[in-house]
């Protein structure tokens, strides 16, 4: 990568597997679907073939609303890979889903880290504008 050469962002497409297929199938339809414990009702992410890590009971897939808030975030100010160079500076947000506080979703935010703050409300969505496949994006709520 040479200075001044700007490439179109082309982040890698997620490769689903047997355990994550329900998550990505829903994502392709623009819907958020995560595992929730049939007993304690706590959410679990990433998808797992295992048990509820909190109480040991089984998990089931449920669709969920997309409202969320920022749990933590980083800025990427220096590109390491060519496929991200065209978007620098961008941010990675770990977003906590409203109603399922144990579920934290890694999301892309196409702006610098300085634009974000802790606990900032917003929503997650699946977007395809920065590469093949869909990926989680964080959209901060617009100030009232």
């Amino acid at each position: 990568m040479t200075a001044g050469e700007v490439t179109r962002p082309n982040f890698p497409a997620p490769v689903a597997d047997v355990d994550s297929e329900p998550f990505w199938a829903a994502a392709a339809e623009g819907r958020l679907r995560v595992q929730v414990c049939v007993g304690c009702e706590r959410g679990v992410f990433p998808p797992t073939p295992g048990r509820c890590p909190f109480c040991g009971l089984g998990l089931e897939w449920r669709y969920h609303e997309s409202s969320a808030s920022i749990y933590s975030w980083i800025g990427v100010d220096r590109a390491i890979f060519e496929w991200e160079a065209g978007l620098v500076p961008f941010s990675v947000v770990l977003a906590r889903i409203d109603g399922l506080p144990d579920v934290k979703l890694p999301c892309l935010y196409p702006g610098p880290a300085t634009e974000l703050k802790a606990h900032q409300p917003g929503s997650v969505r699946f977007g395809s504008e920065y590469g093949d496949g869909v990926r989680l994006m964080f959209d901060p709520a617009v100030d009232g």
């Binding site: 997620p14 992410f45 990427v76 390491i80 961008f90 990675v92 610098p112 880290a113 990926r135």
Partner: protein, 384 residues
């Protein structure tokens, strides 16, 4: 902790950016150095353990190259800093139970010229745990640790100057260490002028990768040339907290990212051995990034949650301070020896052989590995 197993010798190569040598050649230099240090014949090694992340050689290739006739134990761990002491603890257990008599643990990498752990030399596949992270640009160890640092900053008010304090203290130690790769004095202002890489991490929050090898020989007490130089294991633990994922590459569901593995190891590390943090004279905290030092100072009981930044800013962890951390400059300023160089320095200090940087009080040293959700810790003691 062990009645029989002792650390008999250590060896190393210099750090370089392009060794021009094979990884096996580096491993042999370190291993032969450790045997010379212990005063034993390298051909008498009968066990070998290493750890790697697809970037090194098989354990037994070293005993093969040395012509060791009797191989009684070998193990190859697939892991990095979070389990570097797994190798050393297993070697001690093997010797303790008589499964082998002289076991070498080595780590050898052309970590700068061939296989950079930081990511730029590796292809990224968005599968497995990375199907959730790579598509959104959450790749590389630095970006993972930065996420924890940010969470700590937001909860406790930790600042980037606090992170910088760790880098400055490491450099203060490295200035007097001829083995260190970075010895130019560093100020907080220099730190703040270094480029932002993964906000909140600047360039100087990262350690630098090098070509290098390190080796440690473990055997039975009294079997080295100079038993008074043998080092004891006082305590040793591995582990993590609930929902650790797969360390850096899968730690999304970790319960609280402002806390590191160290919080969950402290009780087991100190309790059975009857230790308190105040019994530790020297700390060798795994410092692949500045934040990992802050997280561990809190987890291992040297600062209350949220107070590690102020402790470092007070100068306590640097030369002359009362909580000396990484007296050689650590991974941050001596170089990235994947934890082994921190271990080697601990042994040097406990033997009172650290020359100009020898500390007067050096009878118990804590050595750790890991930065995020899982890790390991050992307390070493000078020969009684």
């Amino acid at each position: 902790m062990f009645s029989r197993a002792r650390i008999l010798g250590t060896g190393r190569t210099p750090f370089s950016k392009a060794s021009g040598r094979s990884v096996l050649s580096l491993a042999l230099e370190a291993t032969e150095g450790a045997c010379r240090d212990a005063g034993i014949d390298a051909r008498d090694l009968d066990g070998v353990i290493t750890y790697a992340i697809d970037d090194s050689i098989y354990s037994t290739s070293v005993l093969n190259a040395l012509g060791c006739p009797d191989i009684r134990w070998f193990a190859d761990f697939n892991g990095g800093g979070n389990q570097f002491l797994t190798s050393l603890l297993q070697a001690a257990m093997v010797v303790e139970h008589g499964l082998a008599e002289r076991v070498v643990v080595f780590r050898a990498i052309n970590g700068r010229s061939e296989s950079r752990l930081g990511g730029s030399s590796k292809s990224i596949a968005a599968r497995g745990g990375m199907q959730y992270t790579a598509p959104v640009g959450w790749t590389t160890y630095g970006r993972f640790d930065a996420m924890m640092a940010r969470r700590h900053m937001e909860i406790y008010g930790t600042t980037t100057d606090h992170l910088g304090g760790v880098a400055v203290a490491a450099r203060e130690w490295a200035v007097s260490n001829p083995n260190a790769t970075m010895r130019k004095p560093l100020s907080l202002e220099d730190y703040n002028q270094s480029p932002m890489i993964s906000d909140p991490f600047r360039l100087l929050d990262y350690c630098q990768e090098f070509d290098c090898a390190f080796a440690v020989v473990i055997g039975a007490a009294g079997t080295s040339a100079t038993p008074s130089r043998e080092i004891e294991f006082v305590s040793g633990v591995l582990g993590g907290g609930p929902r650790p994922g797969g360390d850096h590459w899968g730690y999304i569901e970790w319960s609280e990212h402002a806390k590191t593995f160290s919080h969950f190891l402290k009780q087991r590390l100190y309790g059975p051995a009857g230790l308190r943090s105040s019994d530790i004279d020297l700390l060798y905290l795994y410092d692949c990034f500045t934040f990992s030092v802050l997280g561990q100072l809190e987890g291992f009981g040297f600062a209350k949650p949220g107070e590690s930044g102020a402790l470092v800013a007070s100068g306590a962890t640097g030369p002359g301070g009362h909580v000396p951390v990484n007296t050689h400059g650590g991974l941050l300023s001596e170089g990235y020896g994947h934890g082994m160089n921190n271990f080697v320095e601990a042994v040097l200090q406990l033997r009172k052989e650290a020359g100009d940087r020898q500390l007067p009080r050096a009878d118990r040293a804590l050595v750790t590995g890991g930065a995020t959700t899982t890790g390991c810790a050992i307390v070493l003691g000078a020969a009684a």
